[in-house]
């Protein structure tokens, strides 16, 4: 289960990060990039909470 969800997270991560490079190279249109990013986002937030642990440090200070 853990490995499966990690693979889904990885695919989702790639769906957000890779299509924009293909758009830059002129191999993909923007609408497809946006749809893939949207699917990747959904996949990331569904799969990642199942396997990702909490940060070793919980910082309560504001950041900029």
């Amino acid at each position: 289960m853990r490995t499966a969800t990690q693979i889904i997270s990885l695919i989702s991560f790639c769906a957000v990060s890779l299509p924009c490079w293909l758009f830059l190279a002129g191999r993909l249109d923007l609408e497809t990039v946006q749809w893939l990013a949207c699917l990747g986002t959904i996949g990331w937030f569904v799969a990642t909470p199942i396997w990702m642990g909490r940060s070793a440090i919980v910082d309560g200070e504001p950041t900029i």
Partner: protein, 474 residues
């Protein structure tokens, strides 16, 4: 990304961190990786372009400024953190006294509220996109946007405050999960913008014609509005990048984090946050505005005809709904702990009050601040002011740690004299800050320029005044 129990910065509040709780450098790199991908990055990046910064100055200036920030964390904060292993607040209490720390806490709480207000505004710009609610920035500093946007800010602020009142841990968990995704969305926004700007090679990127065209558009609109052209040079970029987190490094707020560090080398860890959040993300966000100016110039203009950064619209034009989600989540996950922390600061002054009520109060202040769009539109100045006010307290800690004994004075004087207000600290802090605020608000000095002079003045005054204030202690 670890399964071990997290170490909260709220642990060991009034004692040194024990050996058993110390953490290796990897944990700090992990934490800082997502630490500076905040909602404000979507606003700060475009503001560089709107202020007329050249692309070459931005690329080199941010590189140098962020490097200086990392060096400050490594060599100013971490040595003291690993030597004393105390929180900023407890260390200040031992030096300055409990009542003075409460006063400092309220001031920092109010500043946190304004910072959270800017994040609420940024989130509202994104939620407004699907509802076609425009983000109008009025000319007056204390002017409101259109009624629909103001109502949206109230709703967003209300939700964020309510969630913050429920505690910080759950939001920290969401922020932890979202951090890698947010960073990659920032990068994707920048790459899509480069494609929209028809940048096809490194040479055309470095030449930056698309950027100079965008700045020419900004300048033309400023001239049409009867305003002098804004200039944001290399020096300003370096100083801003170095000192925008002045409260965390020069102000020593991150002592609270690095007290858990097993060795001082952990002090290099902020580099990952700086170069992802304050380098890549700022440049990517700046490219978003350049792309929108090229594709839809009319969409970048406010009611007075000047260029305004609308973070939600910028991200939407690049990555669609993912862009909107990123702006909302980046704003929410950073506004939330900020409001929570401000609530704790207010509760410190009224210990019998409910933490929930105080957090809601902080949320209300932040929401009111967020309703004034000029706060986020002038974020470059606000962040410098934030460092000018909170940064100098770090000089007190620095002098107390390194110099007091060398000059024959008592370190941690409030602890040993059992005083609740160390007047040497109070005067040494307020005097340079008041002068700094005068220079910023009356003389128009760029706010980040005031941080380091105020820091040195505060440290020198603290040493000098301690000579007169200190009495023999047992």
């Amino acid at each position: 990304m670890t399964e071990e129990a997290p170490t909260s910065s709220g642990e060991f509040e009034r004692e040194a961190v024990p050996e058993s709780a110390l953490l290796g450098s990897g944990k700090f790199w992990g934490m800082y990786a997502g630490e500076h991908a905040a909602g404000t990055e979507f606003m700060i990046g475009p503001l560089f372009l709107a202020a007329g910064a050249s692309l070459q100055d931005l690329i080199l200036g941010l590189l140098l400024g962020n490097l200086l920030a990392v060096l400050t964390w490594r060599y100013l904060v971490t040595p003291i953190a690993v030597a004393k292993r105390l929180t900023l607040y407890y260390q200040l209490e031992r030096i300055a006294g409990g009542s003075l720390v409460k006063f400092y806490n309220v001031i920092s709480g109010l500043l946190f509220c304004f910072l959270a207000g800017a994040m609420i505004t940024v989130s509202a710009t994104a939620i407004g996109v699907p509802f076609n609610i425009a983000f109008d920035v009025p000319p007056a500093m204390l002017g409101l946007s259109n009624p629909a946007f103001t109502l949206l800010v109230v709703l967003v602020g209300g939700v964020i405050a309510a969630v913050a009142a429920g505690g910080y841990e759950r939001v920290a968990r969401v922020a932890n999960i979202a951090a890698p995704w947010m960073i990659v969305v920032f990068a994707a926004c920048g790459i899509v913008s480069l494609a929209q700007l028809e940048v096809s090679s490194f040479a055309s990127l470095w030449e930056g014609t698309f950027w100079t065209d965008a700045i020419a558009f900004v300048r033309a609109k400023e001239a049409a509005a009867g305003k002098p052209p804004t200039v944001f040079g290399f020096g300003q970029i370096v100083i801003f990048a170095w000192l925008c987190n002045g409260a965390m490094h020069f102000g020593m707020a991150d002592l609270t984090i690095f007290r858990f560090a097993r060795n001082p080398a952990s002090g290099w860890a902020p580099a990952i946050g700086m170069f992802l959040g304050h380098y890549m993300a700022w440049i990517a966000a700046g490219l978003l505005l350049a792309a929108l100016i090229k594709l839809q110039p009319a969409a970048t203009l406010n009611a007075t005809g000047e260029v305004t950064a609308n973070p939600g619209l910028l991200a939407y034009e690049a990555l669609g709904w993912t862009g909107i989600a990123c702006v909302v989540i980046a704003g929410w996950t950073t506004a939330n702990p900020t409001i929570y922390r401000a609530g704790l600061a207010f509760q410190g002054v009224l210990p019998r009050s409910s933490p929930v009520v105080m957090t809601l109060f902080a949320g209300a202040v932040a929401t009111i601040a967020g309703a004034f769009p000029n706060l986020s539109a002038k974020l470059l100045g606000f962040v410098g002011t934030y460092g000018t006010v909170l940064g100098p307290m770090g000089a007190v800690i620095f002098v107390d740690f390194y110099l007091m004994r060398k000059f024959g004075l008592r370190d941690e004087y409030a602890l040993h004299s059992k005083t609740s207000i160390n007047s040497a600290v109070l005067i040494a802090w307020l005097l340079p800050v008041v002068v700094g605020l005068y220079l910023i608000f009356v003389q128009g000095v760029f706010a980040a320029y005031a941080v380091i002079p105020c820091w040195f003045a505060c440290g020198a005054l603290y040493l000098l005044l301690s000579k007169f204030v200190q009495r023999p202690t047992t």
